[in-house]
């Protein structure tokens, strides 16, 4: 009886250790990690899908997650700099130390856009390494997936082939989907759009739009009445049909602008599960593409 319990316990311990513990700062990295790790990983995202990624609270429960993590996936482009460093400091996990293979910095090898020539906070909350909202470009997502494959294969060499196969499959899916998304948005190439915050740059660039009007006067600075008046006249002048907002933005402000310009408020999200039926990365881009093309159809 005793030995049976011991075997059972040992089995439990083994299965508990069999899965790779993965923590991600943001839900989009978590979606990719699930894609690549499948049933062989346990993935926890710290930020909630609807949460403003700049302002996530450094809750101590995250320290517990980080302490047990084999792999941490973070942006590496200062988006999480307001809350991640103290968590890592307290978690004291050598697997996630700078330079350790368990630390994935998603932006590695990616040429970020809008790298400021001069650093000044007079320009609002500008990120020194460039615009960090890069995951909505599927081509970049493939590159991030490649980083994740490398990290998983290093942390769990026994299953390296599994992760690599999933990574290849993800790449193939994205390549096929890009044709679909590209076709769906082809009729609207060259159109100008408005956005609440400067976080759709990479999506727009991929599919040939230009986000030329922002409701925020400067990144992170709330819209002032004077700025909104200027925004309204710009939207009318440029015949802009859509205003992209995220769940944590002030939708009422966007609605006000929409009602006085005839443009539509389009509920977008950078993160899977923030919108209905967007459990995976591909589903998220599906929904984003569908929402943008629906708004531009008329």
């Amino acid at each position: 009886m005793k030995s049976r319990i011991i075997i059972l316990l040992a089995a439990l311990v083994c299965t508990a250790h069999a899965k790779l513990n993965v923590v991600t700062t943001l839900p989009d990295y978590a979606a990719l990690a699930r894609e690549i790790g499948g049933y062989k990983v346990d993935v926890t995202a710290m930020a909630k899908p609807t949460e403003d990624p700049h302002f996530v609270d450094a809750r101590p429960s995250f320290i517990v997650k980080l302490r047990a993590a084999d792999v941490l996936i973070e942006g590496g482009a200062e988006l999480e700099s307001g809350w991640l460093p103290p968590l890592l400091q307290t978690a004291r996990n050598p697997k996630l130390a700078p330079g350790a293979p368990g630390l994935v910095q998603a932006s590695d090898g990616i040429r970020l856009l809008e790298v400021p020539a001069t650093l000044s906070r007079a320009g609002g909350d500008v990120h020194a390494s460039g615009n960090p909202h890069f995951m909505v470009d599927p081509i970049i997502a493939k590159a991030v997936a490649a980083h994740i494959v490398t990290a998983f294969a290093t942390a769990d060499p026994a299953n390296a082939a599994f992760y690599q196969a999933n990574g290849r499959e993800f790449g193939t899916t994205i390549d096929a989907k890009l044709q679909e998304w590209g076709r769906a948005l082809l009729p609207y190439r060259g159109l100008q759009l408005a956005a609440y915050h400067d976080d759709w740059l990479y999506f727009a660039r991929r599919f040939g739009f230009e986000i030329s009007v922002f409701l925020e006067p400067k990144p992170g600075v709330p819209p002032s009445p004077a700025h909104l008046a200027a925004v309204i006249s710009l939207i009318k002048e440029k015949h802009i049909k859509a205003i992209l907002v995220e769940p944590f933005h002030n939708r009422k402000t966007a609605e006000k602008v929409a009602s006085s310009t005839g443009a539509k408020v389009v509920d977008m999200a950078q993160y899977p599960e923030a919108l209905p039926d967007t459990a995976t990365y591909v589903q998220l881009i599906d929904v984003l593409v569908a929402r943008v093309s629906a708004a531009l159809k008329n």
Binding site: V64, E78, L84, Q89, R111, A128, I139, A143, G167, Q179
Partner: protein, 513 residues
Amino acid sequence: MYYRKSVPIFITSILISLRLHAEEPASNEAIQKQLLEMQKSIQDIQTRHQAEIDTLKKQIEEQQEFIAALKPPAPDNLPVLPDPPPAFPTSDPALVPPAMPPASELFPTTDPSVVANSPSAPTPGLIPAPGLIGGSVGASKGSYLNISFDAIFVGAASSADDLSTLEVGDHDPQQNGFNARNVELALDGAVDPYFEGAANIVFKLDNDNESSFEVEEAFGQTTSLPFGLQMKGGQFFTPFGRSNQSHPHRWDFIDAPLVNGMMLGPDGLRGVGGQLAWVMPLPFYAQALIAVQNGQGGTAYSFRNPGDDGTFFGRPTIDRKTDGFSDLAFTPRLETSFDLTPTQTVLAGVSAAFGPNDTGDDTNTRIYGVDLFYKWKPADAEGGWPFVKWQSEAMFRRFEAGRGLDDAFPAAETFNDWGAYSQVVWGFSKGWAVGLRGDYVNNDASSITDDPSRQSRYRVSTDLTWYPSEFSKLRLQYNHDILESTDFLPDSDEDSLFLMYEISLGAHGAHNY
């Protein structure tokens, strides 16, 4: 258009005229003349039409040129970062062009302008090699040291003539008019793969506008000990409670809580020493800490503190040196945290501080504290708003007050003091927060000491803060103070109004919960 229409009309007119002439065969001459005329008119028409055709052709050419100019230029050749060359090149795109993508591929699936390397072939080189990396993860790259500067300025108007008797904290406004009690330079960075370092240097202007500075904190701590352990050494804030460990720019009110100022001291409890912290291997957050510090001087207020003018609680103090381990101040702390729901978090802690004090040869102080912090923030908060924060701390102090140097003071006493504060801050709209705080400190009555720091006190504070951005804030605060009477001092109540202005420069300071 004109040309095409005119052809059938022309032919019809010839046919009609031929028929007319056929009915009049009599005059050949007339016919010949008519034919000549017709030939001439045909030639005329042809010349005219040719001219028209030429004009139209020219117009079409012009239009085509115009259209060509309107067209966007062909997709520009996006810069491609060359892969690091091998020892000897194994390919030469200048001679052998890379294979063209299959014709069926309508939409590009790679983009060398944003992704440097081919994503299908991940290279381990993408992850930085272990070694010295400047700054901490997520912090700005390109510097070995994060520097930030924070300045707090307060305008004060109080019914109290001497604000320094009312405000217990050294960074609190100390005079009516303007105050600059906390101009702070904060530095931090990775020392090497094993340590990180941080320092907070505070510059102050006193009531006579004389500058002074203090090394508020300067310490190194380990980054790579196993088992969730961390060691810290240097000058640092004692891990007692919540408010004591936070710098003024993180406070939700302009001044320190009364209980902190009166039990842990105007400067907060801090000193030179060492600390060991252990994050316990539990399914929830729990950390145990023990700090050992000198416990000497003004920053160890209730411990070996010689006091202002060499007196403390009325006693002439003894300058007790550190002769052994038992002369140091020990601070154990246990803290834990739970997420009540995905949007609500609680952080709770118990702390204690033990050490000798300077009012006798063998007098000791013990302080016990509990702290509780609660925060609610919805899942779709914009820039951190809205939120509700509730923070409370309670402390009990047992202070053995001896007879002082050479037993000069008439009697030894033991003070059992306690105090607490509780504050609620509601961030009601992006950039705006209101706060309400209640303070109480109950100091044991003494019939021998007339020291005003033994007065029991109440305070109610309310404030309104506006954050134009996360790097600046404006705060208006109202305090109502009630000082209870002692055997020597009458009771009194005072009203104060403060307006604070704060600026932060430099590295984005990340905050603990």
